[in-house]
């Protein structure tokens, strides 16, 4: 084994950090250099993520027999030093981040990176924060990487400026700062009770708590859960999300689709580790399921109520969060694997959708949004409606519009969950897994509630997206054919191709995810790997 390969788990943090540091040495005017550096860094991150995914399966150069790579920073043994843990779940999330990051990055180089200063370093720092949050093996570092990714996201959210964007960013920053305080309070309480911040050690220490200490620990866990639920956009803590995602620049909004999933990742990870200690209800149990159903309903209603395409996409993010909460709130591991598949598919699909919407908006003539609203209000008295069809018939279909239309169609299929793309595989496997849990003795009412909610929400999504598509492509009298650049079309195609690949390779991918789910259900392996002595043979 090559010696540098043992440092693989730290590279997803170091590469974007060093890249952004290097970028700061260049000027904003040396854009080409920055773009080159950034592209190389993201491609490297994809490579690292692929190697990590292989390593967790026990194939490739650094084969971890247990599928868990523990990296001790400064070589201090685990409960005292800081550890980074690359296991199946983190490797998967790293790969997803890198692919989405690459697409948002390529898209941004077409136009958006010139709308303000320091777009490139901030983008890399956001990637670093995301990667770090997925790798962190202790609570406080999880907080630190959350702050890094949030601070970078504040900068990116404000990118391009404008009154509405600054207003939305103000709310977004305020809510997240308060969520950070909650996180800190919970971390401090947990430290005061258990004397550890290391997640693996925490899982062991939580077992020893009893009586009043245990109650206090559960309250601390509940506060922690609320902080993560704010980030993951659970109802009623998600009022900041639609405005933020609507106002953010398109590539930034596309990258933001994974930020709600960081909250879900944290809930899943901590919930899995607290399983032997009897995880408090907030982490994948009694409370998570109703919160998920409420979020799902809220997102669906929001999609139906929105007229602006980007707002529909923002509510679709909430809907996908709700589906995940509800699925992860189901008892047992049967639903976890399909839920992870849904996570992959929905992040890729929604990322593509946010990028695409900006391009379709370009084809609208000025004030088309206003027209759409007034059309609703004064339906019926449209004198030119009859002549409209004559004008439209026979208009040649330019290739650009065909690309936009087909991509919109594909994104809709992904979000709604209709065949043949991965959205369908995800929803179908979720539903069938949920029905399986009913046979295994899960509360039947919950199962049917989940099935009904998901199917209803699918129909509602189809209505919302169908209406939106009709309004974007068929209703306008004069469609400008926008001029698109290759680096604006390519990322959408890559994301859609990734979804298509997910569909074609559904079998192997699902096997990997099922293994991940079973691994999460047995946290003993994680705990053992992290707390193992740093040097084989020495005493712990």
């Amino acid at each position: 084994m090559m010696p540098w390969l043992q440092h693989l788990p730290v590279l997803p943090i170091l590469v974007p950090l060093l890249t952004s540091a290097l970028m700061l040495l260049t000027r904003d005017s040396q854009r080409r250099l920055r773009v080159g550096l950034g592209t190389a860094a993201i491609l490297l991150q994809i490579l690292i993520a692929l190697m990590l995914i292989r390593a967790t399966q026990g194939i490739g150069a650094p084969a971890w027999p247990d599928g868990i790579g523990v990296y001790r920073l400064g070589n201090w043994p685990a409960p005292f030093g800081i550890v980074l843990v690359a296991d199946r779940l983190s490797a998967l999330m790293l790969g997803l981040t890198a692919v989405l990051g690459l697409c948002a990055w390529i898209y941004a180089t077409a136009r958006w990176d010139r709308a303000g200063s320091h777009f490139h370093p901030l983008f890399q720092l956001l990637l670093m924060g995301l990667n770090g949050a997925f790798l962190a093996g202790d609570l406080f570092n999880l907080f630190v990487f959350f702050e890094i990714l949030l601070t970078a996201s504040y900068g990116l959210m404000l990118h391009g400026s404008g009154k509405r964007r600054v207003g939305a960013a103000l709310h977004y920053i305020g809510v997240n700062l308060i969520a950070s305080f909650l996180l800190l309070i919970a971390i401090a309480l947990i430290y005061g009770l258990t004397g550890t911040l290391n997640l693996a050690d925490l899982s062991k220490q939580a077992l020893t708590l009893a009586g009043a200490d245990r109650q206090l620990f559960d309250s601390a866990a509940a506060i922690l859960g609320v902080a993560f639920l704010i980030k993951a956009a659970a109802w009623p803590l998600n009022f900041w999300l639609p405005n933020t995602y609507t106002e953010a620049a398109a590539p930034v909004a596309a990258l933001f689709t994974i930020m709600t999933k960081v909250g879900i990742y944290a809930l899943l990870r901590i919930g899995s580790l607290l399983l032997p200690a009897g995880a408090p209800a907030a982490f994948g149990g009694a409370w998570m399921f109703p919160a998920g159903i409420a979020t799902l309903a809220f997102g669906t209603l929001g999609m139906l109520a929105s007229t602006q395409p980007r707002r529909i996409a923002a509510y679709a993010v909430i809907t996908s969060s709700g589906t995940l909460f509800a699925a992860l709130g189901m008892p047992g591991v049967t639903v976890t694997g399909p839920a992870l598949y849904y996570l992959l598919s929905s992040v890729l699909g929604l990322g593509a959708f946010f990028l695409l919407l900006e391009l379709t908006e370009r084809s609208q003539s000025f004030g088309a949004d206003m027209l759409a609203i007034t059309q609703e209000a004064f339906e019926g008295d449209e004198p030119e409606a009859a002549s409209l069809s004559e004008q439209v018939v026979g208009t040649p279909l330019p290739a650009t519009m065909a690309f936009l239309g087909l991509s919109f169609f594909a994104c809709s299929l992904l979000i709604v969950g209709l065949p043949p793309l991965s959205g369908f595989v995800a929803k179908f496997s979720l539903l069938s897994a949920a029905l399986q849990t009913a046979e295994q003795g899960a509360p039947t009412f919950n199962v049917w509630l989940l099935v009904t909610a998901m199917l209803t929400s699918g129909v509602a999504c189809l209505m919302a997206l169908g209406r939106c598509g009709v309004r974007l492509f068929w209703v306008p009298e004069q469609l400008h054919v926008p001029t698109l650049r290759i680096n604006e079309m390519a990322p959408i195609l890559i994301l859609l191709a990734a979804c298509a690949l997910l569909t074609v390779q559904a079998g192997p991918v699902m096997d990997y995810l099922e293994d991940t789910a079973h691994y999460l259900d047995q946290p003993a392996r994680y705990i053992q790997a992290v707390l193992a002595p740093a040097f084989p043979g020495s005493q712990p």
Partner: protein, 113 residues
């Protein structure tokens, strides 16, 4: 000692929350600052209160009972740095919002009944 600290944290947090619920940006940032103090004191208190105990261990007197817990102090330091940076950034956004909307209401517009 304990109740002075508890009272301090309580008053800071209470005032902070009251200010956070105001719809004015300046009061909001003052509330955030007070909340930061409360949270930092709280983290500090979670390492147990010790008077005149050094946090850095001397190898000649390696008896943990003689020392204060150093970890919460390190955590507080990190939290102060992060809180300071994010508050500064938030202040800039407040100023930008104020300049663009000509009002210090958090929504950027006044709600008149």
């Amino acid at each position: 000692m304990e109740w002075i600290l508890a009272l301090g944290i309580g008053v800071l947090a209470g005032s902070g929350i009251w200010l956070l619920l105001r719809p004015r940006t300046f009061q909001f940032i003052m509330g955030l600052t007070l909340m930061t103090y409360a949270v930092n004191l709280f983290i500090f208190a979670m390492g147990r209160l010790r008077l005149d105990a050094p946090p850095v261990i001397d190898p000649h007197w390696a008896d943990p009972a003689r020392y204060a817990d150093p970890l919460p102090q390190a955590l507080v330091l990190t939290a102060i740095v992060i809180g300071f940076a994010t508050t500064a950034l938030f202040l800039v956004v407040l100023l930008a919002s104020r300049g663009m909307s000509d009002t210090d209401h958090v929504d950027g517009e006044e709600h008149r009944p």
